[in-house]
Amino acid sequence: MSQPRDHSLQDPPALPPEFGTGPLVRKNSAITEPAWVRWLLIGSALGFLSLFLLLPLASVFTEALRDGWGTYVSALREPDAYSAVKLTLLAAAIAVPLNLVFGVAAAWCIAKFEFRGKQLLISLIDLPFSVSPVVAGLVYVLIFGAHGWAGGWLAEHDIKIIFAVPGIALATIFVTFPFIARELIPLMQEQGTDDEQAALTLGAGGFRTFWRVTLPNIKWGLLYGVLLCNARAFGEFGAVSVVSGHIRGQTNTLPLHIEILYNEYAFAAAFAVASLLAALALVTLALKTFLEWRYADQLAAARRH
């Protein structure tokens, strides 16, 4: 059997001597602007960023610590604050896994199959992005509230949805629905169905194909989507505000609690709790940046056919 020639394993040919090995010299002055223009542009961009992004963020933390560590810590240890943290985490813990399942299912459906009404489904997934969260909350009140369509039946069976945890979870799910699906659809569309079809021809069933082929292919995108979804679930204000009823210690999430404190002129406490939310956002941002870096690498590898 003749040996097929393999060009990939050979070392690249040495560079001819005229390429040299000296330091790179910037020669393309013809396509760059003069120094003062560059510094002006960079400076104004930096100034804008610090004014509108960094300054508010820093002020949250300075305001929170204005009355000293004692006030800061006591504001966080207050029972209402504690229960708000708990409720926020609970709402996220319900909404994120459910949207993980819905999001993957929806993305799978859209990216891997052709069917009637696909465009409609895509638009529906985007609905929470285009509808104001307050409207979303009101819709839930209209359906499940005391005077809503299902209100009577729910009251008869002693099920509380509005002004209770289920309502908050529902509102959070609605608002955060598109994050994971939106993240996955383009990724899965780009990957196509060849890998899955290959797995099928090799004898793998549907579930194994998903578990061993599809999921590893989308894992970074999925994690990224989960992080975004989670960040939004923590921070959701409008829809939750409508359905929560603002019962202290019971149906107040972190954003609602901050608003109440602020309206009561407890600025230091409000900023202290806000700093907690901001810190959560910063952690998410750091994780996201890390994942983007990882994920870009993977995507590049995926494209390197």
């Binding site: 059997m1 003749s2 040996q3 097929p4 020639r5 393999d6 060009h7 990939s8 394993l9 060849d194 890998d195 079809q197 290959a198 797995a199 099928l200 021809t201 090799l202 004898g203 793998a204 069933g205 194994r208 061993r212 082929v213 590893p216 292919n217 590898a301 995926a302 390197r304 056919h305």
Partner: protein
């Protein structure tokens, strides 16, 4: 495993991708499905694999009806144009995938799977690369891994969808030869799809030429090239000159030229001649007068464009650069041409072809020629 395909039909949103296909493939054969894009060749291949459900017809593997078997049950090896290797798995795990997803007593243990992967890596001449990831391989290497992965499940049939389409010309040629040798060694019935006529003619035992969801001709590589059954096949496999003539009482008449023919056609016909079968003859011999318009040297061939004197049809002539007659090919020169080997078909728009047209015999190379405008 022999395959029999009976009257298979498939329609995509009113577009007939397969319009009644019949084909028998013998066990151990290497078959090429050849055709332009949209001819239905890939659909047929995917239908064989079970990846494309068919609307009507029957597909049999050996004595078993496979029409309604699932992809998994068919146990076919499928190789994709873009390899479809699992990026997150090593080469070894890719090859072992088909065995590792088996269930029950059929499932080999890990050591056996590894052992099999090693054997296959050796077969595709990639020993030692088992621990690499697909992104670390070249295109040709990836395609060989894809082949090893497909062979790992001991497929009844090996199906390849434009297997060399994504590779550069040189690697492609090497891999083609290598695949032929691998096929001779393993003896697995193999069907591959290509739009490259050279690839089909070089690699396959038999070529199936497809057009618009139908099979135009099935035959050995020599048959389809030398005796094209339809104008489409004539045109698709190599280039062709076309001009008009007339058949009357066993004679083919083109302007003043009269040639003996046993064609069953009569009346107006179209004559198909490959550029290298249009011979330059002495001015005193019978033939068609033409004037050379342009001359071009391409690799080992000298190609000339000429115009027939009697009706202005443009024809191409091709000669080896060693042929002394190339001296006659200068723009403006007058030539006398004789179609040495040709096919006769009813003129375009005429009655559909009922009998096989006569084609005498034919020789080798090809180029893309201008279509003659009669």
């Amino acid at each position: 495993m022999e395959i029999s395909i009976r009257n298979v039909r498939k329609t995509f949103a009113a577009f007939p991708a397969l319009a009644g296909v019949d084909l028998d493939i013998a066990s151990g054969e290497l078959i090429a499905l050849l055709g332009p894009s949209g001819s239905g060749k890939t659909t047929l291949l995917r239908a064989l694999a079970g990846l494309e459900p068919i609307d009507a017809g029957q597909i049999k593997f050996g004595a078993n009806d496979a029409t309604h078997l699932s992809v998994q049950e068919r146990r076919v090896g499928f190789v994709f144009q873009h390899y479809a290797l699992f990026k997150h798995m090593t080469v070894e795990d890719n090859i072992g995938f088909g065995l590792s997803v088996r269930k029950g007593p059929d499932k080999p243990d890990k050591a056996a799977i590894r052992q099999r992967a090693q054997e296959l890596l050796e077969l595709v001449q990639l020993s030692g690369l088992g621990k690499r990831y697909p992104a670390q391989l070249s295109g040709g290497q990836k395609q060989r891994v894809a082949l090893a992965r497909a062979l790992a499940i001991e497929p009844r049939v090996l199906l390849l969808d434009e297997p060399f389409g994504a590779l550069d010309a040189k690697v492609r040629k090497d891999l083609r030869r290598w695949l032929r040798e691998l096929h001779d060694k393993t003896g697995v019935t193999t069907v591959f799809v290509t739009h490259d006529q050279e690839e089909a003619l070089e690699l396959a035992d038999r070529v199936v030429v497809m057009n618009r969801g139908r099979i135009e001709q099935v035959g050995t590589t020599a048959e389809v090239y030398e005796q094209p059954a339809t104008p489409f096949v004539f045109d698709f496999l190599g280039s062709v000159n076309r001009f008009r003539g007339e058949v009357q009482g066993g004679k083919l008449k083109i302007n003043g030229l009269s040639l003996n023919t046993d064609s069953p056609l009569s009346g107006a016909v179209e004559i198909y001649v490959r550029p290298h079968d249009l011979r330059i003859v002495e001015d005193s011999s019978p033939g068609l007068d033409a004037r050379v318009l342009s001359v071009q040297r391409t690799g080992p061939f000298v190609r000339a464009g000429a115009k027939l004197a009697h009706d202005g049809t443009r024809v191409d002539i091709e000669l080896s650069h060693l042929d002394p007659l190339t001296a006659a090919l200068v723009p403006g020169a007058q030539l006398r041409l004789l179609p040495a080997i040709y096919g006769l078909f009813p003129p375009e728009g005429g009655a559909p072809l009922k009998t096989l047209p006569d084609v005498v015999a034919n020789a080798v190379p090809e180029q893309r020629g201008d279509r003659a405008r009669a």
